[in-house]
Symmetry: none
DNA sequence: AATGAATGAGCCTTCATTCAT
DNA sequence: GATGAATGAAGGCTCATTCAT
């Protein structure tokens, strides 16, 4: 499919990928301009279509590229030997924040992709996202020590409630950052808040 | 501001509003075409701009309209005499699903609006959303009987965890419906699932 | 033709005339908006067309109105008893400047009208301008004492050369004002410059 | 800037330039339609904007093109060895009329440009015109034999009066042609008239 | 007389994509 | 492989004018 592109010298690949990610992350699928991408990447108009066929396929390729980049690093860093659920989640939150810092554009791209509503890519994208969720859902809970949890409740539901809480917490902080004038995320405040929720949730769901 | 439009006969207003909501809900702000809206509403091009000035103002007007329509019905139906938190949330979930059924396009429009990233409307929209959040946040917890909850934890955090759980639950079901071929929401299944989570959460957080 | 309009109460007539002159003077025929005119004049859209038929006729009416307003005052003020040509022209220049100060919008309108190139009004306007020139050309020279001029030249050519000089002088000052940041006309400088040219021309063409 | 356009085959360049000049000359900046231009030039809509960016830049490019075309021919033809002022002006008048005959549309375009009031191009255009005036003002008087003129008057004013006379004379003839049904300029009559004015002016201002 | 809602052609500009070179 | 000129549909929006009330 994208073999032509992948056989390019890495430097040119990177130039193109970075230019495209930047444009899509900033403007979303519809408003992103292939003109801007080729200008930034310093390649010709025709070449982009030679490599990717069309805008949609390029976007979908970038989504995969971004997802893999982030996922690879994520699973490289997470310690599956840590069997305590809360510590595992704490780890996940910290790693996510680290990656956010390291690859802001890529992260931005993925985040926007989750909310991308353009009819051109919506269907394909949702399919991809669903698959990813199915694949990864289990992974993060792999090897968790379930013996610490109360046994008078459905363990799956407990895990879900805990996951939901931290996801919503992150979303809310993100939303707050979005609405603040500086768009700055206050990592320290999030960490502190998370610890307080850990405490409540441990008291509620651990033996 | 929109007095010209609001003085129209209701039938024509509805035709225009429905056409516009449908178009924006389906395609998002940028890709939505005023051409399509006037075609669907069976009015002339110029008239739309006679009423709303421009696309952006029309979109913002529709957001207000949609929000008010939903909020009015929501707060008319919710029983603030019900002081038990879980029953209150159960109510809220059911009412929301009912409205979702009754006004699917309006709901769609609002949901999309929350994620609308078009630079044209982003700023204004976020301001509106922020204001709404500030206003309504407290309202749903009004008059709740807090004496039933455990006292060894921060009550605010408990309430948040519970809210988060049901919000995420709804979102997940919605997402599942989105990805299913028929886009059908299985209300019964949701109700049943919600009851099971009520049970878990009561056990965890009630005295 | 415009009897409907002319039978209006003067106050309303003035409101409409002023609004229209302002808009045309500022934007030229094509870009002038009938919408802006009715808004400023506080009358309804339809009424404007009821009175004037269409934009073109309104413009032509305004040209006549403006021309008459200026010409009436001009010929009321000019002293036809002054038989010296240079004094007569000096008078004309001073009166013109006075009127410019008193009716800046009307003057602006007439000036713009002379350069109006819109195909819609060009032909009609040029016809009007030609007629006016024919009528008024003689008037300003009426009763001039020709005995002061040299007799070895065609007197008509002498008068033309003198007129041309002052017309061009005015045009140049106007153009300079146009190109200056403040658009301010320096009347004192013009008067002084004119006097210097008077001197040269007297020496050249008087006995 | 306009390299894309200037690298085109001359035939196509000419087709586009002629179509554009014609349209702007006839209708002025605002009313000129890019649609008409591309139709006349037989190119696609997009191509025009590919070459010139937007309407304004195209107009400004054409102004430069027209000015250079005329100025180049003018200064190629004028004989700077001719030191007699009247002969020099006679030359200038004849060359101008020749060019007018040869490039009527270009001339028209420039003339209209001087009076172009559209806010879109006014500022830029006036800047260009001002610069041109500064550059060319001296050139036409270069090497003139001033010893023939009377010494009891400001020589600069004399030269101005003479220039003004011939400029106005040309303008009047042009205006007459404009208002005549055939739009024909009667060069012979102009030459004869000019000679008569030469005579008067020589008598008045030469020693 | 007076209103202002309604029209729809026309405006400039953008864009992904194609294809001859 | 690489170029960038060329396409033309579609975009949001404006406007003088009409006409039912």
């Amino acid at each position: 499919m994208f073999t032509k592109f992948l056989n390019l010298e890495t430097e040119k690949q990177d130039r193109i990928i970075n230019a495209a990610i930047k444009e899509f992350a900033q403007k979303g699928y519809d408003k992103a301009s292939t003109n801007e991408i080729v200008k930034e990447a310093e390649i010709s108009k025709g070449l982009l279509f030679h490599y990717f066929g069309n805008k949609k396929l390029m976007y979908l390729f970038l989504f995969d590229y971004c997802y893999e980049t982030i996922a690879d690093e994520f699973y490289k860093k997470i310690d599956l030997a840590e069997r305590d659920f809360f510590n595992r989640i704490r780890q996940a939150v910290l790693i996510k924040m680290d990656l956010l810092n390291k690859y802001p554009e890529i992260f931005k791209f993925i985040e926007e992709a989750y909310f991308e509503d353009s009819i051109d890519v919506k269907a394909e994208l949702e399919k991809k996202i669903k698959e990813l969720n199915d694949i990864n859902l289990g992974k993060i809970y792999e090897g968790i020590d379930l013996s610490k949890f109360r046994e008078d409740m459905d363990i799956k539901k407990i895990l879900k409630i805990i996951s939901y809480t931290f996801e919503k917490l992150s979303e809310e902080e993100l939303q707050k950052a979005k609405l603040s004038p500086t768009h700055q995320i206050d990592y320290q405040k999030i960490s502190k808040e998370a610890e307080e929720y850990f405490e409540v949730l441990t008291k509620a769901f651990y033996k």
